[in-house]
Symmetry: C2
Subunit: 212 residues, 2 copies
DNA sequence: TAGATTGTTAATCGATTAACAATC
DNA sequence: TAGATTGTTAATCGATTAACAATC
């Protein structure tokens, strides 16, 4: 159970979504769910759900389906760090503040515990209920608060520099919102959210789709 | 040339990124680029770049490589709507305002031309330099400004309702930031950006990666 | 039992890559 | 020409799905 390791990030994404929907269902009083029901909620095939459950070693009763509470538990054992995960936001411009508000409202295991910005007007202030440190304090704060994962929400022209600073300070994983390919050591995990590209995709596909 | 149609959204994403880097290169005075150079900049293989160029019907001189200006032109002919694309942001909370700031700073062909929010304190005001309308004015504004693509940045509990309103008002493509599976007619293009899921992915993969 | 669902594998699908003759 | 790059296909890879015997 503890040594399960899911290969694909896509699977992780689906598991995260399963869990969210299952929590809603549980709040609604539902106790168990069939693969085809969950599939319908998430927008995947039933076979996909069953294969994912197989992959995390979770099984169902062929009469009543999957036990929701246990399924949430199993997904959480896999996805969540037992000690919780402390996350920092680097860059407290509009986007950084928006991210802070978004994540502060939601998660439980993932906690935004620090923010960084080089604007002297922000540094060492409390913004949106979160203490904002100067960039040069990363190493200290990362160590003290046990931070390995950061969200990078700085302008693109400084993204590479700031990312290097973060890595030097001990960051191991970066969720990068800057439209820049970060050049970092191989052992650093980088996931990009490129909103410009996503909007261009929607725009293009929509146009193609409405053409006829 | 006008009837080229790229099948995959992944290809569109790469083309968008190629173009961004090529613009930077052109600004730096570079006139042409080899597939392996562009590949290195973007973080893909040279074969991938060549196949993408093949797909959009653009070719190179085997001595000097791809002409950057023409390549940008060809990608733009494919990606950009000739008349430009007018986009609306629905939901002018922190995230909506952040998106506005982000896109207002960047794009050329994609223009944020309207915003909507139901907060009476925001409706009909000008926020971040953009007029903010009440939700019930979508149909009118979409028609007047020729808007088909929207970015949905509202809280998850109202996302489905607001999305339906937007579709009824004429939206054909939605970039959805709410962590919700939108149920909409098949002919509506929906692209989700699920920041919670992305952060959980980074967190998980980082943990697995640093385990040993 | 009867019937619906699960677990599981082989088949399918689509995207990526390796490889190399053609090109400039 | 010589040499590096391109255009292009077959091979590879990984993820998804169809299908069905096993299960409750």
């Amino acid at each position: 159970m503890d040594n399960i390791k899911v290969a694909s990030a896509k699977t992780i994404a689906r598991l995260s979504i399963y869990r969210r929907l299952l929590r809603n269902a549980m709040r609604g009083g539902q106790a168990s769910v069939y693969s085809h029901e969950l599939a319908e909620m998430v927008g995947v095939t039933a076979a996909q759900v069953r294969r994912d459950m197989m992959e995390i070693g979770f099984s169902a009763d062929s009469r009543s389906g999957y036990n929701i509470r246990e399924m949430i538990g199993q997904i959480s054992r896999l996805l969540d760090s037992p000690e919780g995960e402390n996350v920092a936001i680097i860059g407290m411009g509009k986007l950084g503040c928006a991210l802070f508000g978004f994540f502060a409202g939601h998660s439980n295991r993932l906690k935004i515990v620090a923010a960084f910005d080089n604007d002297p007007g922000k540094a060492e202030c409390v913004i949106s209920g979160c203490r904002c440190h100067a960039m040069n304090r990363m190493k200290d704060v990362f160590a003290r608060k046990n931070i390995q994962v950061v969200m990078l929400a700085v302008p693109e022209d400084v993204a590479q520099d700031v990312a290097e600073t973060a890595v030097a300070a001990g960051a191991k994983g970066i969720l990068n919102f800057a439209p820049v390919l970060l050049r970092l050591p191989d052992n650093i995990i980088v996931q990009n959210i490129d909103m410009m590209v996503e909007l261009e995709k929607v725009s293009y596909v929509t146009r193609e789709n409405t053409r006829n």
